[in-house]
């Protein structure tokens, strides 16, 4: 496994710990998708906005081209799963029936606002379900590498990319630390294994409460 994959799995595994007891969870593309493999509790139900409650892993030889998640990756269905149309699926999301959304971001700022759908100067070509999940999910958890490829902090004082919602997320999980957001303030609640507070300070542009 590459270093990058290891980091991603570390983050996903930590996020999985947040899903305890009966809940309905929507996983975004990327690191969030990895969260499912660390869940053993059968009462954690995965919702995908293209129209399925009860997403399961699928074996290579069981792949059905017409059964996919929102990232268009092949998935399976659990016992007790159900299918529905896109409007019904987003009615669930907007209507507050999804307990947790786990999302990747391009940026997150110290008020908890995120940017994950557009980059200035590039054509704004896709938004998908990101904005709906932000306004609708009861709890939003961000999973992201702490820094971008060029080493810059993704946790900023203020998002410079277009925001996805005015709603603040509830938690940020990176390979370095876990932050909770309350009253539009980041609070460091946990260091990941072998990480020092100094490293987090150094790599974080956003202000946060320690």
């Amino acid at each position: 496994m590459s270093d990058k994959n290891q980091l991603q799995e570390l983050i996903a595994k930590r996020a999985a710990q947040e899903l305890t007891g009966s809940c309905v969870v929507n996983l975004g593309i990327g690191i969030p998708t990895l969260v499912a493999k660390f869940i053993e509790d059968p009462t954690v139900y995965f919702h995908t906005e293209n129209g399925l409650l009860g997403v399961a892993d699928v074996e290579e030889d069981q792949i059905d081209p017409n059964l996919v998640n929102a990232g268009k990756m092949p998935v399976g269905e659990t016992v007790g799963a159900s299918f529905f149309n896109s409007a019904e699926s987003f009615a669930m999301i907007r209507g507050g029936h999804v307990d947790v959304a786990i999302l990747g971001v391009l940026q997150v700022d110290q008020t908890g606002q995120i940017a994950n759908w557009a980059v200035p100067g590039k054509n704004i070509m896709g938004v998908g379900g990101a904005m709906d999940l932000l306004v609708g999910a009861k709890k939003v958890i961000v999973t992201t590498t702490h820094t971008s490829k060029d080493g810059k902090s993704k946790l900023l004082k203020k998002c410079t990319f277009p925001i996805t919602s005015t709603r603040s997320v509830d938690m940020i999980i990176t390979e370095l630390a876990v932050f909770e957001i309350t009253d539009n303030q980041l609070r460091l609640i946990e260091l990941m294994p072998d990480v020092t507070i100094e490293e987090v300070r150094e790599k974080t542009e956003a202000d946060f409460i320690e």
């Binding site: 299918f83 907007r94 896709g126 990101a130 925001i163």
Partner: protein, 229 residues
């Protein structure tokens, strides 16, 4: 009078220059692949296409884009086809980007005689620019108008000969919504059965929404899109 069309040209005869089309599918999943292929061979232009995305480069709706038959696209995720951005930069296509929930809800509204509605989705973002805001119970919402089309080209799993439809797993997606929101609705199906074979409780699209039924000649498989007779 039967709703069943036996060739793709007849099935597409209601599509005219300048029309607004809804085209089902989430990418290729649940897309009416035979009808889309028929469109690429039909002499038609100036289309407005409402679909979650515009296929992939040179595939599905991507072909229509290459052929410059699309004047405007309304969708939520054009990122899947990089040629959309290039065409936009060259000023060849007009784009309207909507959150996926708003796109699907606006179709439902269009089919249900709702003129427009208020959603919280998008408030305070770039996609709210120019849109009316309204406070309801202390929360800010955006006004979104209903959308409708002249023709909807959709995909279902099975139709009975009356036009009742059921769908297959996540190939359902936008199809049942589009079935309600266009003046003419043409459905491509894997199988046509007799009335009574679909349970009255499990029919997703009742026949009053469906104008034409066409048996698929292209199918999405693990190995990609294949032709069959």
């Amino acid at each position: 009078m039967t709703k069943i069309h036996h060739d793709v040209d007849t099935a597409l005869s209601s599509v005219k220059n300048g029309h607004t089309l809804m085209v089902g599918g989430f990418g290729l999943i649940g897309a009416p692949l035979t009808l889309i292929d028929g469109l690429t061979k039909k002499d038609v232009s100036g289309l407005t296409v409402i679909s979650n995305n515009l296929g992939e480069p040179g595939k599905g709706l991507g072909t229509l884009l290459s052929q410059k038959k699309i004047k405007k696209a309304i969708g939520s995720y054009f990122t899947s086809n990089r040629e959309v951005g290039d065409a936009y930069q060259r000023g060849e296509i007009e784009l309207e980007l909507l959150p996926q929930g708003t796109l699907s809800e606006s179709m439902r509204a269009g089919g249900a005689g709702i003129g427009g509605y208020y959603t919280k989705t998008g408030v305070g973002t770039d996609l709210a620019k120019g849109k009316e805001e309204r406070e309801i119970n202390g929360q800010t919402y955006l006004f979104e108008p209903a959308i409708r089309a002249d023709v909807a080209l959709i995909k279902a799993w099975k139709a009975d000969t009356l036009g009742n439809l059921i769908y297959y797993k996540t190939a359902r997606n936008f199809n049942p919504l589009m079935a309600t929101a266009a003046d003419i609705v043409i459905v491509e199906v894997e199988e046509i059965v007799e009335p009574g074979e679909l349970s009255p409780e499990e029919i997703v699209t009742p026949h009053l929404f469906v104008d034409g039924i066409f048996l698929a000649r292209k199918r999405l498989t693990k190995e990609g899109v294949i032709d069959h007779e």
